[in-house]
Amino acid sequence: MSRVLVGVKRVIDYAVKVRVKPDKSGVVVDGVKHSMNPFDEIAVEEAVRLKEKKIASEVIAVSCGPAQAQETLRTALAMGADRAIHVEVAGAEYETLQPLHVAKILAKLSKDEKADLVIVGKQAIDDDSNQTAQMTAALLDWPQGTFASKVEKSDAGLTITREIDGGLEVIKTKLPAVVSADLRLNEPRYATLPNIMKAKKKPLKKVTAKDLGVDIAPRIKIVSVEDPPVRQAGSIVPDVDTLVAKLKEKGHV
């Protein structure tokens, strides 16, 4: 295997409280701290480990998004990716960018870059779609190993342990393939200082969806973004009798 393509998305940092815009057109992103989607960090880590084990020879990080996506790419480079591709999608186009668009971009880049493996996070923590890996595999007609918690090289290709409802499933795939990273695949490293410095000098190429021949015209319209319902405060009752009485009163028993 020679080349791994990793998809990394810039999302609102998971330690930050997300706020809905007053006009309900989306969430507030201005002045809000963003980071790499945590599942994509796991994907980058896995790719870099494959390289360290000499299974992969090159790791390319790809991010679709506004100019700031380059910060996320620098993080991937600092973690050990060799080079980066920024697919610039900004403004209104970015707001309606969907997994299908991203999958088309990743599929095209995989071919252009002659990738043998695409790794992405199983989902992004902003829109929680969990579609990009599957769609990319379908568009390329490559095998897929989604929700991976272990990836090993075998003679014919990869042996992938998948997290499924009720347990683990082990599958074998040929290469090229698409893998989506689950939480337990690895613990992503913190970029070390020398690598943070080096990352600033690593190559970062900028392209547009148009350059790649991918149509990103919106397929959806955002009607309204709402806060989840507020959880009702609980109350403490003095004893079991009162509890039963209250439950009866509300028609639960």
Binding site: D13, A15, S35, L183, E187, Y190
Partner: protein, 509 residues
């Protein structure tokens, strides 16, 4: 608390600070020995609680706020490090200053002793009774009264939890001027009463500067209103300072006005490996010079401190093993400016070798993970036995000297001896972990450690206070003349000595 976003709950549980605290609190279930037995204390001549007293308290608080059930009271009798245990039979939970005032007036008339309690995270046994003192808990006095977004001054009740206040002001573009590992549990009233220092004192100064005003109740129930929220107020004596750091012995703090600095736009956090302690001092000098006004914290921990925390609490260490670790935080207003400054400082010190390696980040979740590791050191050894905790100020050139000395002195008796703390403030925390408390080990360390600190003109308590554990050692750091004045003040403000007896003031000969 963080906002928990669904797919990451498991990751978040690893990182959530408050969880760590809760986990630690329940780690060891064995009850500590009674303080009076352990430290051989005699009960002073206070009144004892009669059923008529309970009747009175029930008449001013509703019944639910008068706790008399042994099980309900147990947590109020035991301190956070499970070293001290009192025998209180009564806990009162007032909601207003007026209630506090009525309680104290009554207690003063009846000579009933009172132990004020905030979040009960104090580390010197000040927050729990020794005998049957009535515990007066501030937990229900938790209202925020006002916030002035122009001046940054907030007025709130004493029982507000520090982290709740921080979350509240952050939503409004400000931060609390103090931050400490106990933030999810400790109260602002407790912080004020202990003059808590913490992680950002280096940048935002101590509470004598940030506290603008205080409302307090004297032992006889008189409410002292010094609750101005002005930055400048030179009218007469600066009485609020009497309540900052007096650990509940001069009066009970009921409300505070505190100055909140602006929430920084740009925050960076670095965590580095360093070869030896001398290099930490060199790095500190360099950080002050090169990071200047954006430096907000400079903390250190030795290998054993980090390693114990990583192992006992199963926390990730973001970098490799090093003899010493340094944590450097910056708070500033311009991301580009700050990161340029930080990067040139880091490149320079990587070249000189002061920094061996490490990581730096501006991502909130990653910063939280690193801070969490640092903040968890304090409780990490509760699982492995009993911790003798020392919190001393030492001139920086001698800062780390005591750790190897104590290691040698303790030999095989200690599970581990490690040092960590606020280098920037000259304040080191030394933890000596032993399988189990015993007086032989205690006598090896005390007063030895205090004598050593006194020799280099240090302080035997940099930030935790004197509490129950250290009155008999206070003379190592305070002159007799000052102790006499303290005693005079105590007599003036609390003539019957009902407020937090057995604490802070040494026994009169």
């Amino acid at each position: 608390m963080l906002s928990i976003r669904k797919p990451l709950t498991s990751l978040l549980q690893l990182h959530c600070k408050s969880n760590v605290l809760v986990q630690i609190r329940h780690a060891s279930q064995a009850l500590p020995q009674f303080s009076w037995e352990k430290y051989n204390v005699k009960r002073k001549n206070f009144g004892t609680i009669q059923s008529s007293d309970i009747g009175f308290f029930k008449s001013i608080l509703d019944e639910k706020r008068v706790l008399t059930d042994e099980n309900d009271i147990l947590p109020y009798n035991i301190d956070w490090i499970k070293n001290c245990r009192g025998q209180s039979k009564l806990v009162l939970r007032p909601k207003t200053t007026e209630e506090v005032s009525k309680i104290l007036k009554y207690c003063n008339d009846r000579r009933l002793a009172v132990c004020p309690q905030g979040g009960n995270t104090g580390l010197v046994g000040g927050s729990v009774p020794v005998f049957d003192e009535i515990v007066l808990s501030f937990a229900l006095m938790n209202k925020i009264i006002s916030l002035d977004s122009v001046s940054g001054s907030m007025v709130c009740e004493a029982g507000c939890i520090l982290e709740n206040l921080d979350n509240y002001v952050r939503e409004r573009g400000l931060i609390m001027p103090l931050d400490l590992g106990a933030k999810g549990t400790c109260h602002i009233g407790g912080n004020v009463s202990t003059n808590a220092g913490g992680l950002r004192l280096l940048r935002y100064g101590n509470l004598h500067g940030s506290i603008l005003g205080i409302e307090a109740v004297k032992a006889d129930g008189t409410v002292i209103d010094c609750l101005k929220s002005l930055k400048k107020d030179n009218t007469g004596y600066h009485l609020k300072h009497l309540f900052i750091g007096s650990e509940g012995t001069l009066g009970l703090v009921t409300k505070v006005a505190i100055h909140c600095p602006v929430l920084p736009n740009a925050v960076n956090l670095g965590f580095f490996g360093v070869k030896n302690f001398d290099n930490i001092l060199k790095l500190y000098k360099s950080a002050k010079k090169n990071l200047g006004e954006i430096l907000s914290a400079f903390e250190m921990a030795d290998f054993d401190a980090i390693n114990t925390t990583v192992r006992n609490l199963k926390l990730p260490n973001p970098i490799a093993d090093y003899p010493f670790y340094v944590l450097v935080e910056t708070h500033g207003s311009n991301e580009a400016h700050d990161s340029e400054k930080l990067m040139s400082f880091l490149s320079k010190e990587m070249e000189t070798g002061l920094i061996l390696d490490g990581t730096v980040t501006s991502e909130p979740a990653k910063m939280q993970t690193i801070w969490n590791l640092r903040e968890s050191i304090a409780g990490a050894s509760l699982k492995s036995g009993y911790i003798f905790k020392y919190d001393v100020s030492i001139p920086q050139k001698h800062y780390y000297d005591l750790v190897p000395i104590l290691k040698k002195r303790m030999g095989g008796r200690a599970v581990s001896v490690y040092g960590y703390g606020h280098v920037g403030d000259g304040n080191i925390h030394i933890n000596v972990v032993v399988p189990e408390y015993n007086s032989e080990v205690a006598s090896l360390m005390e007063p030895y450690i205090f004598e050593e600190v006194s020799k280099v003109n240090g302080s035997i308590s940099a930030e935790h206070g004197i509490g129950f554990r250290k009155p008999k050692y206070i003379h190592y750091s305070k002159d007799q003349s000052a102790l006499h004045l303290m005693s005079d003040l105590k007599k003036l403000m609390d003539p019957n000595g009902i407020l937090n007896p057995y604490k802070v003031l040494p026994d009169e000969p």
